[in-house]
């Protein structure tokens, strides 16, 4: 109750007239009312203002997470040809349906999609509001933009080099690496609890085969669904690895999956898809590409 | 309205009337009073959180349970009526607040799919009037003895209840 005094309802019209008179005198003397003369002056917009989209073609990996997360279905992936990048898929946006919620920029795993402060988007033709990837392309925007999301160093495992030596698990100061057996195979692999990881990099230094490398990943706040391999169904065709935009899948021969041939001899080990979940962006393209339904992804429709 | 002042006093008296055990918190007291008044129809009384309790009531005793809640236990504010379309039943959920003991009770009543009828409580709480109309409009729950059970949000001539799960636009 310190700053607050209940006003006494007094005065006929003189009190309000004093206030408006002050205002009149102020605007007449200063000659400048509070209004912003819009087309000539504009408001200062903060950097996080959500206006028109821009896309950095070089950073974008074409995963389509922005399309997945869009509440209004106003984004789509489009095939474009670029002289440098070749045949690629990049998102376009229909500003006529966009809510400007900013989820697409927030979910982008490589921070390639931004929203600018440009808000003058009105047009006479609705078709002009449908912006393809080339319309929103701006490869240099990211340099002027301070991304709020932090980059983070996480250890990424190359399973083909791993020898199950457990050196990394012993070195981790946070005790966040545990050796877990891979199902249906004879192998084990280190599993990282990334929530506890503080990016010391001790595990990568300790690895004798250099199978662990520290890679920079942007923090993600969206719980995207993760792929899960059904080993019996996997044929080893590698379609998922070819489709993966973030190179999080590679094919590897798995010891322990050999079929027992006649006479007790063992055949060649099968190739199986291996997921690097640290790199996975959860776009679900492997799930869509798999013809054998070997990849489970809850919540992603085919 | 003399009824209002009367209700204020009876609410307090009602809580005092129930013989309180030492250390019994108000949530349990309300649940016990409700279960004692309607031993056969009120079930599943639980405390969800401090200040929030839940009970299920059969739809045959819904009206009298609500009367008891308002008149004897001091729940004088009907916060919300929501209808949920489950696969096998409709659930009509009443959230009722007490301004005196600062409690919220979640009273759940069910109705079968083929007969979505419950008693109206709009004579108990005037605020239920439009909320019941809304439930009727969007979910198709029929409230018995409602003063004016008409569509409220949708036009008068639509034939469907859009919040039902079998509704396909």
């Amino acid at each position: 109750m310190d700053a607050r005094q209940r006003p006494k309802p007094t005065g006929i019209v003189l009190k309000p007239m004093r206030r408006t008179g002050k205002q009149l005198a102020r605007t007449l003397i200063l000659g400048k009312p509070n209004t912003v003369l819009y087309p000539e002056e504009k408001l200062d917009l903060p950097q996080i203002y959500r206006g028109k989209h821009v896309l950095d073609f070089k950073k974008c990996i074409g995963c389509g997470n922005c399309v997945l997360v869009c509440p209004n279905d106003c984004m789509w992936l489009e095939k474009v040809e670029d002289p440098e990048l070749g045949k690629i898929e990049r998102p376009g946006v229909d500003l006529g349906r966009c809510l400007f919620c900013g989820f697409c920029a927030e979910v982008c795993p490589t921070v390639a999609l931004h929203m600018t402060t440009e808000f003058e988007l009105a047009d006479r033709d609705r078709d002009n509001l449908r912006l393809g990837p080339l319309d929103i392309r701006d490869d240099s925007f990211g340099e002027t933009f301070i991304e709020e999301r932090q980059k983070r160093l996480v250890p990424v495992l190359d399973l083909s080099k791993c020898t199950d030596c457990e050196m990394c698990a012993g070195e981790c100061p946070e005790m966040c690496i545990a050796m877990m057996p891979i199902e249906n195979t004879d192998r084990k692999k280190p599993e990282m609890n990334l929530a506890k990881c503080l990016s010391h990099g001790k595990c990568a230094e300790a690895c004798p085969e250099k199978a662990l490398t520290m890679t920079e990943v942007y923090e993600s706040y969206f719980d995207m669904s993760e792929p899960d391999l059904v080993l019996e169904k996997c044929s080893g065709c590698g379609a998922c690895a070819r489709k993966c935009p973030s190179e999080a899948i590679y094919m590897l021969e798995m010891p322990g999956t050999e079929k027992t041939l006649k006479g007790g001899k063992k055949g060649k080990p099968k190739k199986r898809a291996v997921f690097v979940l640290e790199k996975c962006v959860g776009c679900g393209r492997c799930h869509k590409a798999c013809r054998f339904d070997a990849i489970d992804m809850p919540g992603v429709r085919k | 309205m003399s009824e209002g002042s009367e209700r204020d006093s009876t609410g307090v008296v009602g809580i005092e009337k129930a013989p309180s055990r030492i250390g019994e918190n108000p949530e349990n007291r309300v649940l016990r009073a409700l279960a004692e008044s309607f031993p056969r129809t009120v079930s599943g009384g639980t405390q969800l959180r401090p200040g929030v309790i839940r009970a299920r009531v059969d739809r045959s005793d819904l009206y009298s349970a609500c009367r008891t809640l308002r008149d004897d236990l001091g729940f004088e504010h009907l916060t919300m009526i929501s209808a949920v379309d489950y696969e096998d039943r409709f659930e009509i959920v009443y959230h009722i607040t007490s301004y005196q003991s600062r409690l919220l009770i979640e009273l759940i009543s069910t109705a079968p799919k083929d007969d979505p009828v419950v008693d109206s409580v709009s004579s108990v709480w005037g605020g239920a009037n439009w909320q019941e109309r809304e439930s009727y409009d969007l979910m198709g729950i029929v409230f018995n003895s409602h003063p004016k059970l008409e569509r409220i949000l949708l036009p008068k001539d639509v034939l469907y209840h859009p919040l039902r799960k079998d509704f396909r636009g």
Binding site: M17, G21, L24, L28, N34 | -
Partner: protein, 376 residues
Amino acid sequence: MNLFEFCHGIIHWLVDLVNNLWYWLGDFLPWYFGDLFTAIGDFAASEGHLLFMTVLVESVVIIVVALINVLNFLWIFRKLSGRILDFYGPYYVGYRIGGWLQNLADGVKLFTKEIITPTKADRLGFLLAPVIFVGSSVTILAVIPLSANFGLSTTSEPGEYVSAGALFALAAFSIAPFAILLAGWSSNNKYTLIGGMRSAAQMMSYEIPLLLAAASVFLLAGSFNFVDIVDAQHDMWFFIPLFIGFVVFLICLIAEVEIIPFDLPEAEAELVEGWTTEYGGMRFGLFYMTTAVRSYAGGALATAFFLGGWQGPWFVPDEIWFLIKAYIVYTVFMWLTWSVPRVRIDQMLVFGWRRLLPLAVLNLLIAAALKSGGWL
């Protein structure tokens, strides 16, 4: 030289010029043409025709000046509203003269709009209402002089103007409610009907204090003539002895010109646009313009009655003094308008009958006492 002499001189000169032309032309033509021309020339040079033409030209000059005044008024209204309400007001149209041309642009826009008459409206009344409203309001301007030399006079004698000009102005001022009632009723719309009814009640109850306050001025001045009234204020402006009357007069004027504390007939929050709801296009534009005309007339009446008319130091012409005072009265109106909300109709009527009427009567008594005591 006053306006009459000025116009008379011009007309005289023109008639002489044309007559010379006629006579010169008649010399070259057969005799009957010459006689005809002579007759026409004699008629043109006759005193009655000269007087008629003079008054006609005088009226046109006065109306043109008044309408330019109205544009000024609307500009001041919009600019001042803008400054009080913390925005710019008219800005781009006529950028160098502070957006003065905005009203002309709005007028042109309103001219291009379709004029709609509702199907079930009473067509005659619907058509007649703007005519009466605009006509009666513009008529007020005819008798309000800007100075002792700038007004509608019947003779060349300065000071002899329409002898009951003030009375005529007040009478013309109070015709408008009939037009409003007619407009409200003939539009066949509930909002306009309520607006019209409110207007009738409002005008009726505020007319009486207005006239009583004006009557005290007439009593002190001893005349209904504007020039006499202003001359009577040579020693002391009337708002000092008749301060109560001045305040009552201003309040009643606010009610008469329907601006915000008393704009109940067109209270846009509850009655959409009141009695003008069904009018569109230039008909609405006329109403809008006429509101400014009435505001100007009100300011001018207050100036002439209480603020010493065109009296002021010599370095500014009399006409400018008069306009400045009228504008200041209007500015105070605007200032009050934007500072207070709108009252309710019953409160307003109670205020009119129970507060203003006794005050006006008291003021009249004071004036009578002053006059009979010989102090003024």
